[in-house]
């Protein structure tokens, strides 16, 4: 890409707050977005993600139209004895019978749940959990990072210690230890259980997911707060909250967007891992649980195994590659 002089200058100024007037007024975010649109990988990944989001959002519609169910307890769902043979393998569809439109991706052995319906609802769970965890951990990381970086003295010391404490916590063991405790204590009321489990799971992901951004933001604030425009704001008596959110925050759009885009696939993977290990949600379909259920059938029913594998891999791959492209797009040092 041949960089025009205006763009180079704008990129060079990206760290400072204002883009000088004679440049044709393109904000750093705008430049990054334009670069992103020219990036084939980014466009491809974004398209894949869009399709996945639409599929997940339309899960009830699709399942209703095809008359398939993810939950065997659904009164309209066929009972396992109707659709399974005596050995537990499905009586229609793969792996032993030809393809049927009644169950496009076949049925799960033993339970007789429709795979397509389960996959769609699992995708829905993944995306909702990951999105919620990303939003909350970003907000927490942002606020703690801003406060720690901006306040000198003991507040910074305490907050930095807390960040380090969480970072040196063996996060997987911690997450695993917390999950059953929070989830099993979520209550015994079946209606409330599913929602309480959701909240518990998201809290766990947030508890172990906010530190990276907090540390990053703290570092950024440490260098930004000595800059002239912040000193000027302090001198003319701008309130601290306004300095934090109106002066400092807009300068950190790039690291925040990058952190968000790389946090999403991490949370997708973590949610699936927890349910894969049998420590995640119990009442809700999950891709990780499907993976764990399907692994023993690798020989006779490879399709069953490869569905969750392909879905998890596609989801995380698309999100990660998109995140990587976003990082490149925001990085003024990247040459294309």
């Amino acid at each position: 890409m041949t960089a025009n002089p205006g763009e180079l200058e704008a990129v060079g100024d990206a760290v400072g707050q204002s883009v000088s007037a004679e440049v044709t007024g393109r904000s750093p975010t705008r430049i990054a977005f334009d670069r992103l649109r020219k990036d084939k990988v980014a466009v491809g990944c974004a398209t894949i993600m869009l399709v996945m989001v639409v599929l997940a959002a339309l899960a009830p519609v699709i399942a209703g139209a095809l008359d398939i169910y993810y939950d065997i307890k659904d009164p309209a769902a066929p009972s396992p004895s109707e659709v399974l043979e005596f050995d537990g393998y499905p009586a229609i569809g793969p792996p032993l019978h030809p393809f049927t439109w009644e169950h496009p991706l076949g049925l799960a052995p033993k339970t007789g749940v429709d795979n397509l319906a389960y996959l769609l609802y699992g995708l829905r769970t993944s995306l909702i959990v990951a999105l919620a965890a990303t939003i909350f951990s970003t907000v927490i990381g942002l606020v703690i990072g801003l406060v720690a970086g901006f306040s000198r003295g003991w507040v910074d010391t305490v907050l930095s210690f807390i960040i380090d404490l969480f970072l040196s916590f063996p996060f997987l063991l911690g997450m695993l230890a917390l999950a059953p405790i929070l989830i099993s204590n979520a209550g015994n009321d079946l209606d409330k259980l599913a929602r309480a489990q959701f909240i518990a799971l998201i809290s766990i992901l947030v508890i172990f997911g906010w530190m990276g951004l907090a540390r990053l933001i703290r570092g950024q604030v440490l260098s930004l707060r000595e800059r002239e425009f912040i000193q000027a704001a302090e001198v003319i008596g701008v309130p601290t909250r306004r300095i934090l959110f109106k002066e400092l925050l807009p300068n950190m759009v790039a690291p925040i967007v990058v952190a968000i885009s790389l946090a999403l696939p991490g949370f997708v993977a973590a949610e699936a891992l927890l349910s894969f290990l049998g420590l995640g949600l119990t009442g809700t379909p999950s891709l990780g649980k499907m993976l764990a259920d399907a692994a023993p059938y690798y020989k006779d029913y490879a399709l069953y195994l490869w569905m969750p594998v392909a879905t998890i891999a596609t989801l995380t791959l698309a999100l990660n590659l998109l995140g990587d492209s976003i990082r490149d797009a925001f990085d003024p040092k990247t040459r294309r």
Binding site: L172, N185, L321
Partner: protein, 331 residues
């Protein structure tokens, strides 16, 4: 130097103490009685049995008191009456609810498997990662370089456990390339030990090496642009020597830092690897203990040992730093 180490050890001790407190609080402040699921295992749970179990586990005391007792056991040992009476000596981590053995003994029993896995895996990913990264930087911009970067991006984008489970299913079960993936202690001979761990090592090592390859490549590319590298080349030093002796030494310092910071990830990697390849180590033990009914003494022990390993690794890396990088003087 000594003062620095003492200060680091103090803060590490604080981190470990807080970690154990958090685990305790979470477990015992929950609404359910932890004795309930234990009571339910062996058939009918009578109120008397529940009361006895609650008493035996010391659950009638306040959380602070229970924590204090647990802490005491860790340093001076304690006596536990849980069915028979156990004389649990100095580093006492309690009695496992499910196996009714001393947790410390079980921990020591399972530690070698985890240690073997972690050392082998991290050696592979450090060596392979640094080597590939150096090579890629050397041929920067070529097809080989771009291929390597793309490959590493793809491999590190897919969750590790998905790769591990596919490797286990296809390489071990289906195609029988690595038919034996069980842990043999070193006393069975070094051959059996290495043979059994080969696939877990490779999977853990190669999957993690991608990040190190990319990181090393970035550092190397930067270092190779430095003036002193040009000087060395101009003096006629052989290219291999320039890369491996002059450039790598400077480029590797940040890689070592990342290695230290990534210790939590290595630990997480071994937990997942143990669970998938069915290796009887601390990770699998910890996960099993977490499934209902929760075996709390084991959970506390695994989290504690995990935290201790991570803080010690961080300290060691900081000290190592001053040896690798002569510019750094810890103070």
């Amino acid at each position: 130097m000594l003062g620095y180490i003492v200060r680091r050890l103090l803060s590490a001790g604080l981190v470990v103490t807080l970690t154990s407190m958090i685990v305790f609080a979470l477990f015992f402040l929950g609404p359910d009685n932890p004795a309930q699921p234990l009571c339910d295992i062996n058939g009918k749970c009578t109120p008397e049995r529940l009361a006895l179990l609650t008493e035996q586990l010391g659950l009638n005391d306040t959380v602070y008191h229970q924590y204090w007792i647990w802490l005491q056991g860790l340093f001076v040992g304690r006596e536990i009456s849980f069915g028979p009476i156990y004389q649990c000596s100095a580093p006492c981590l309690g009695i496992s609810y499910s196996t009714r053995n001393e947790v410390t003994a079980e921990l020591l029993d399972k530690f070698p498997a985890t240690l073997s896995l972690a050392i082998g895996g991290s050696l592979i990913y450090l060596l392979v990662g640094v080597f590939l990264g150096t090579m890629a930087a050397r041929v920067r911009g070529t097809l080989a370089d771009r291929g390597l970067v793309t490959m590493s991006l793809i491999v590190s984008s897919i969750p590790y456990y998905v790769l591990a489970i596919l490797a286990w299913i296809y390489l071990s079960l289906e195609w029988q390339i690595f038919p034996d993936t069980t842990y043999h202690p070193l006393t069975d001979g070094i051959g059996a030990w290495a043979y059994g761990l080969l696939l877990p090592w490779l999977v853990l090592g190669l999957a993690q090496s991608t990040a190190y390859a990319r990181y090393t490549r970035g550092q190397m590319v930067e270092t190779l642009g430095e003036d002193y590298i040009r000087t060395a080349t101009a003096k006629g030093v052989a290219k291999r020597k320039v890369i491996f002796q002059h450039a790598l030494r400077a480029a590797i310092v940040p890689v070592i830092t990342i290695f230290g910071l990534d210790f939590a990830f290595l630990l997480a990697g071994t937990v997942v690897t143990e669970e998938i390849f069915d290796i009887d180590g601390i990770g699998q033990w910890g996960i099993r203990a977490l499934r209902a009914p929760v075996d709390f003494p084991v959970v506390a022990a695994t989290v504690l040992i995990g935290a201790v390993i991570i803080v010690i690794a961080n300290i060691i890396v900081d000290i190592l730093y001053s040896f690798i990088d002569p510019r750094v003087r810890v103070s």
